[in-house]
Amino acid sequence: MTEFLQQLLNGVLLGAIYALIALGYTMVYGVLRFINFAHSDVFMLGAFVAWYSVEKLGLPTQSIGGGLAALLLSMSVCAVLGVVIEKLAYKPLRQRSTLTVLITAIGVSLLIQNVAQNSRLGFGPNPKAFPALFPSQQLHFGALTVSTHQLVVLGVALSLLGVLYWIVHHTRIGTAMRAVSFNATAASLVGINNDRIISFTFGLGSALAGAGGVLYAMNYPSIDPLMGTLPGLKAFVAAVLGGIGNLPGAALGGLLIGLVETFVSGTRLSTFRDAIAFGILIAILLFRPAGLLGKLKVEKV
C-alpha cells in the first residue's frame, strides 16, 4: 500500500511536469497547427539556465528565494527564446505546408542541441550535476517519504496551471488566443493581431517548458544537452492523448503518461518504459484520434 502511494506520488509529480511541457505543444498547435519540435529543447535550456544562474551568477542554493529566482529567470529566458525562435524560423513560413514547418522545427531543435553540445559555444556534451535549488529535506508521513523538492514541484506546477487557466480565461489576450485557435481567419477579421497572439503563445508555452525543465532537473542528479528529447516526445504524446489543441486535455494527458510510466517502471517491464508512451500514442491515434477530450474534424468533400 505504501509502495503504491509512493509510486502514485512519483507518478503525479512526473505527470505534472509532462503536463507543463504538453501545454506548450498544445497551445502552439492550437494557433499554428504544427508540432513545435524545438519545444523539448527549450525545456532543456530551462534546466541549463537554472544551472547557470547558480554556478555562474552565484544564486544561493538550498534557499527558497534563490530557487524561485532561478525558476523565474529560466522562465523569462525561455519565453524570450520561444518568441525569438518563432520570429526567425517559423514566421517566414506562415503560408507554407505543414511539413516544411515541421522540418524547420526539427532543424531548430537540432541546432539548439548541437550548439548546446559544443564546448565553445554551449555547455559541452558532458552531463552537469544539477544543484539543489530549494532547501532539501525528507519529510515522513507515516511510512510515506516525501522530499521538499517534490513538494516544490507539485506546488509550482499547480500554481502555474492556475495562472495559465486565469490568463486563458480571464484576460483579453487569453480570449484572443482562444479566438485565434478556434478560427484564425475569423479572429483576424474581428481585428485581432494574429502575429502578436502567436508570439504571446510561444512565449507563454516556452516559459512553461522552462519551468518544466527546472522542475524535472531538480529530481534528477544531472542535466545534459540531449535531456529534452525523451520528456519532450512523451509530453507531446500527452498532448495528443488529451486531444491536441485542448488545454485541460494536455494536463490530463500529462498526468496519465506520468502515472503509467511510473507504474511501469516499478515492474519487470521497466526497461521498456521509454517505449510505453509511444505504444499509448499509437493506440490513441488508432482508436480515438481526436484524443480523450478533443473533437474530431471531418474533411469536407
Binding site: 526539427i106 507531446f236 526497461t271 521509454d274 500514442l281 499509437i282 488508432l286
Partner: protein
C-alpha cells in the same frame, strides 16, 4: 526483343559495380568505406523517396526499418552461417545476399505493420507515429539479449563490398523509377496529390500507401543489412530518430519525389561530413609565422552547420536544391 533502355542502364550499373569490386583491393580502405557508405545512403534515400516524396506520406521511421534489416541479416551471418560450414566465398556470394533478402522481407513486414494502422493519419501525425514506431523498435532491440541488447552486436563479417552496395543502389533506383513510370505507378503520385480524388478515380489509396511503405521498408532493410556488414558491429543507438532525420533531409534536399535529385543529395550528404572531418584533421600554415592553425573546430561545427543548412534550406528553397531542372525535363 529489344532490351528496354532502362534495363540496359541497370545492367550497365551492375557490371560496373562488379568490375569496381574486382579491383577494390587496390583502393584505399578508408576511401572504400566512404564510397560504400554512399551506396547505402542512396538505397536509404531512394526508398524513403517512394514513401515521402512520391506517395506524399511522411515517415520519420526509416531508421527503424533499417534496424530490423541490419539485425536480421547480422544474426543470420553471425549465428546461422557458421553452423552451415560453407566455404567463405559461398557465404559472401550466396548466403549474404539471401540474408539481405531476408532482412528486406522482415523490414517490409515491419513496414506493413507500421503502414497499415498509420494510413488514416496525415502529415505531422503520421510523422510522429512513424517516429514512435522507430523508437519502439530501438527500445525493443536494446532489450533483446539475443542480439546483444544495449551493448550491441559485434563480429559481423565484412561481406559488404562495392558490388553489393552499388548493385543494390542501382536496383533500388531502378525499382522506384520503373514503378513510377507506369500507369499503375502514376497512382502513387495521384494519391500524393489528392486522396479523395484518387479514390474517386478508382484507386485503392490504402493499397497504394501500404505498397509504398512495404517496398520502402524492404529496401531500408536491405540497406540495414549492407550497413551491418560494412561496419562490422551494430548498436541500437545508431538507429535512432537522428538517423531517420538524416535520411529525410536527403529526400528533402533532393527535392521530394525527384529521382536523380535524391540520389545526388544522398551522395552529397554522405560525402560532406566525411569531407569536413578530413578537413578538420588538417591545419593551415600560419601566414604570420608561428604554429600552424588547426582546423579542428570544423569537426565540432559540423553538426551545427548541418542543422543551420537545414533551416536555411527550408526558409529559402523548401522544394529542394534540385527541383527545377528535373521537372522541366519531365514536362517537355
Amino acid at each position: 526483343m529489344v532490351f528496354p533502355v532502362a534495363q540496359r542502364w541497370l545492367l550497365a550499373a551492375l557490371i560496373l559495380a562488379w568490375v569496381a569490386s574486382a579491383v577494390s583491393s587496390s583502393i584505399d580502405p578508408y576511401f572504400l568505406d566512404v564510397v560504400m557508405g554512399v551506396g547505402v545512403s542512396v538505397v536509404l534515400a531512394s526508398s524513403l523517396n517512394l514513401i515521402n516524396g512520391f506517395t506524399g506520406q511522411f515517415s520519420l521511421g526509416h531508421a527503424g526499418f533499417m534496424a530490423v534489416g541490419a539485425y536480421t541479416s547480422a544474426m543470420l551471418t553471425t549465428v546461422v552461417a557458421p553452423r552451415l560450414g560453407w566455404h567463405p566465398v559461398l557465404l559472401q556470394w550466396v548466403f549474404f545476399p539471401l540474408s539481405l533478402i531476408a532482412a528486406g522481407l522482415l523490414a517490409a513486414v515491419a513496414g506493413l505493420a507500421v503502414g497499415a494502422p498509420s494510413l488514416r493519419l496525415k502529415g505531422d501525425y503520421l510523422a510522429i507515429v512513424t517516429l514512435g514506431f522507430g523508437e519502439i523498435i530501438r527500445v525493443v532491440l536494446q532489450n533483446m539479449d539475443m542480439v546483444g541488447g544495449a551493448r550491441g552486436l559485434t563480429g559481423v563479417p565484412a561481406y559488404s563490398n562495392l558490388f553489393w552496395t552499388f548493385g543494390t543502389a542501382a536496383l533500388t533506383v531502378y525499382t522506384v523509377w520503373a514503378l513510377l513510370n507506369s500507369t499503375h505507378g502514376r497512382g502513387f503520385l495521384a494519391v500524393a496529390d489528392d486522396e479523395v480524388a484518387a479514390e474517386a478515380m478508382g484507386l485503392d489509396t490504402t493499397r497504394y500507401k501500404i505498397t509504398a511503405f512495404g517496398i520502402g521498408a524492404f529496401f531500408a532493410g536491405v540497406a540495414g543489412g549492407l550497413y551491418a556488414h560494412l561496419k562490422g558491429y551494430l548498436n541500437p543507438g545508431g538507429f535512432s530518430f537522428d538517423k531517420s532525420i538524416e535520411i529525410v533531409v536527403m529526400v528533402i534536399l533532393g527535392g521530394m519525389g525527384r529521382h536523380a535529385g535524391v540520389v545526388f543529395a544522398a551522395i552529397l550528404l554522405t560525402l560532406l561530413p566525411e569531407g569536413l572531418r578530413e578537413l578538420g584533421s588538417r591545419s593551415v600554415p600560419n601566414p604570420f609565422g608561428g604554429a600552424a592553425w588547426s582546423l579542428d573546430w570544423i569537426k565540432e561545427m559540423r553538426m551545427i552547420l548541418y542543422s543551420l543548412m537545414l533551416i536555411v534550406l527550408m526558409l529559402m528553397r523548401p522544394q529542394g536544391l534540385f527541383h527545377r531542372s528535373e521537372r522541366r525535363r519531365r514536362g517537355a
